[in-house]
Amino acid sequence: MRVKSFSGGVHPREFKYLTSKKPIEKIPTPKIVIIPLSQHTGAPAKPIVKPKDKVKIGTKIGEPQGHISAGVHSTISGTVRSIEPWTHPAGPTVLSVIIESDGADEWKRLIKPDYESRSSTMGVDESLTPFQIIDIVKRAGIVGLGGAAFPTHVKLSPPKNKSIDTIILNGSECEPYLTADHRLMLEKPYEILEGGKLIARALCAGGTSTSGGNAKKKYIAIEENKPDVIKKFKKLAPEFRFELCIMRTKYPQGSEKQLIKVITNKEVPSGGLPFDVGVCVQNVGTSFAIYEACKLGKPLIERVVTVTGNVKEPKNLLVRIGTLFKDLIEFCSGYDGEPGKIIMGGPMMGIAQSSDEVPVVKATSGILVQKVNKLSLPEDIPCIRCGSCVKACPMGLLPSKIKDYVKASKFEEAKVIGILDCIECGSCAWACPSKINLIHYFKYGKLMLQKTS
């Protein structure tokens, strides 16, 4: 099979061996969870519980506001202690619901679980209509689990004039260190592909009639560095009418626009979205969550998180959303050395945390700990115009030039040469021999453009 790749990109050391052989472990139900009401792109959810309310696993506690928003559910059974602002791992404080466990682990499901009637089969009830699937996904509060946390029901309901003919399940997992998707694909391949089928079925209607049953192509994309997963899917994918695409191990192979270009040779237009070229990309974790919602009536209350780097025992954990980072690190036998940085996500795009008392959210794919003496905080020196960043940029931009414009506060000029196309993957900054914090300039430039527009 031909191995596929895109132009640009970089090859950081992976360190996936730390956790790639470790089966997903379920962390014990935490005594307390802190559930932020904004864990997705779009408007924050509105709290619909009050302190002292009894909740079960799956009780909706936050109501989505508007179309691009997602519901939030309790992830343990117990009592609401308070609703207060709490530090969010992706930014400033966010109104969060704090729930104390009663230890009972009682459930409130979205739908009657399918397995009670059809326990012997993996398959999902074939009678679910596209509309029903999208409704369940929406009620389950599912968002993209690859990191961007875009509400999935929105992705499954493209505008009436766009028709989706290609579905890509994204199992690239190109960020170094992370193995959550790797392990999930290895341990739950059927479920992921069943979820893929549900996505295809949902998009058959897409909530509208015009995009009618024409998802002609279904792909699952996996990077070369996961031979065990590839072996599994080589056999399994055809059974589900999915085509396996083996991708070269290169960062950022799993980025949506790069993936679409590689697999379909289509380019998402600048400023556009995948549905503009008739493609829908879903992370394998999201696919699994869709399966669980439609089959078991489970809202999105837990996810797989890779806890790795300088912790004593790096692990892949199945974690309830709202569990504090420090609980996960404790479960991995604590820090190895004095922690200098705690990063949510991978080392290329992850967000450095100010504390380990922040909760796991829907977008937490990993927690990477770097110890103090292993921090990479080089001092930057002037650009020597070596072109490493240009070569590394997967979007075909001129990072050093954009940086120059931003530095000179020429934001409009930066816009003209494509600052808004930047996906902030970090390849340029990684490659830069002058150690310039390019991403800082791009984030700042985008912010300033947003402010002035």
Binding site: G340, I381, I384, P394, L398
Partner: protein
């Protein structure tokens, strides 16, 4: 627990400007060895003096301009080596001192230091010396002390000139030209036992360094490839039309083309940042070199070709852009 917060990425490639500069300097060691072998220990002395002056000039400039002292980042060292490589072995010892000082003080630090200079400092230094002391820079050619070929007839009388000087001066002397065009001469040009500047004569030794740098991706092959290719192909065509007395092979092996194409045209700061831009840059250098060699006042044109293209680099970078993913065609 004291946590650091910084923008992503949280890992960096194991590379630095310092390492690049020292590695490029290292890649020039074979050619330096060749210079010592062909021209004697004086070649080494000139190089050491040149490097020391470049580093001292950098320290001086950074001191008086109150900049951070970065004399050990390897860039001044590299400028020193390259300047020395552009001198004839007979130069007096003050020549590299003046040349390096000009290169560092005027061409580099006056424009803001590393990364801000618009022309290659070493070449600017050489151009300055050429303009100020043309007799020293061209008349002090020395024959290699250990010629490889045994035959000394024919061109032996003009052996103190460079091969390019010969075709420039003796274009109508068929005996001299036929001697030059012989295979023997091409072999000598390839190995380096000919007259010329210190570091430019041995194509073989320069290639060793160049291939090493290309293999580890420190320099982009596009510039030397397009530069040397342009000179070779166009010179061959001009030779067929009788415009130049020597063929394409002679023209790429003679003079400072390999030194310039591999080590000076590829200077990051003064060459374009895009692949396409680098193709244009290399080809442009080639064309200007040809024009100077054939129609210009100097027998050799590499230095000025690169300097002129350095000046065009900002323009090339303004016009040539890579294709953005998702850009409307």
């Amino acid at each position: 627990m004291k946590l650091t917060i910084s923008v992503s990425p949280h890992i960096r490639r194991d590379i630095s400007v310092k390492r690049i500069m020292y590695t490029v300097s290292l890649a020039l060691i074979p050619a330096l060895g060749g210079a010592i072998y062909f021209f004697g220990l004086r070649a080494l002395y000139l190089t050491l003096i040149s490097c020391a002056s470049a580093i001292l000039a950098e320290a001086f400039a950074q001191r008086i301009m109150k900049r951070k002292i970065t004399i050990f980042d390897g860039s001044a060292l590299l400028t020193g080596i390259l300047l020395a490589f552009n001198l004839p072995v007979g130069s007096p010892f003050w020549i590299p001192v003046v040349g390096s000082a000009f290169a560092i003080l005027v061409a580099k630090q006056a424009f803001g230091g590393l990364g801000y200079n618009f022309i290659n400092p070493a070449l600017a230094g050489r151009a300055f010396l050429m303009a100020s002391w043309p007799t020293i820079m061209t008349a002090k050619w020395s024959a290699p002390v250990l010629p490889l070929g045994a035959t000394q007839s024919g061109i032996s009388a003009i052996t103190n000139a460079t091969p390019l000087g010969v075709i420039d001066l003796y274009a109508n002397n068929s005996i001299a030209i036929s001697q030059l065009a012989s295979n023997n001469t091409l072999t000598k040009l390839f190995f380096g036992s000919v007259g010329g500047c210190l570091g430019e004569t041995s194509v073989l030794l320069l290639l060793i360094g160049g291939i090493f740098l290309i293999a580890i991706k420190y320099i982009d092959w596009r510039i030397p490839f397009s530069y040397i290719g342009t000179v070779g192909i166009l010179m061959q065509i001009l030779y067929k039309f009788g415009i130049t007395p020597a063929d394409g092979i002679f023209h790429i092996l003679a003079g400072g083309l390999f030194l310039g194409a591999i080590f000076m045209a590829t200077d990051y700061v003064t060459s374009p940042i895009t692949h396409k831009g680098r193709w244009i840059f290399g080809a442009g250098c080639g064309i200007i070199t040809i024009v100077i060699r054939i129609w210009g006042g100097y027998p050799e044109g590499v230095c000025y070709a690169i300097l002129l293209m350095n000046c065009l680099t900002p323009l090339i970078d303004k016009v040539v852009k890579p294709k953005k993913l998702g850009e409307k065609k």
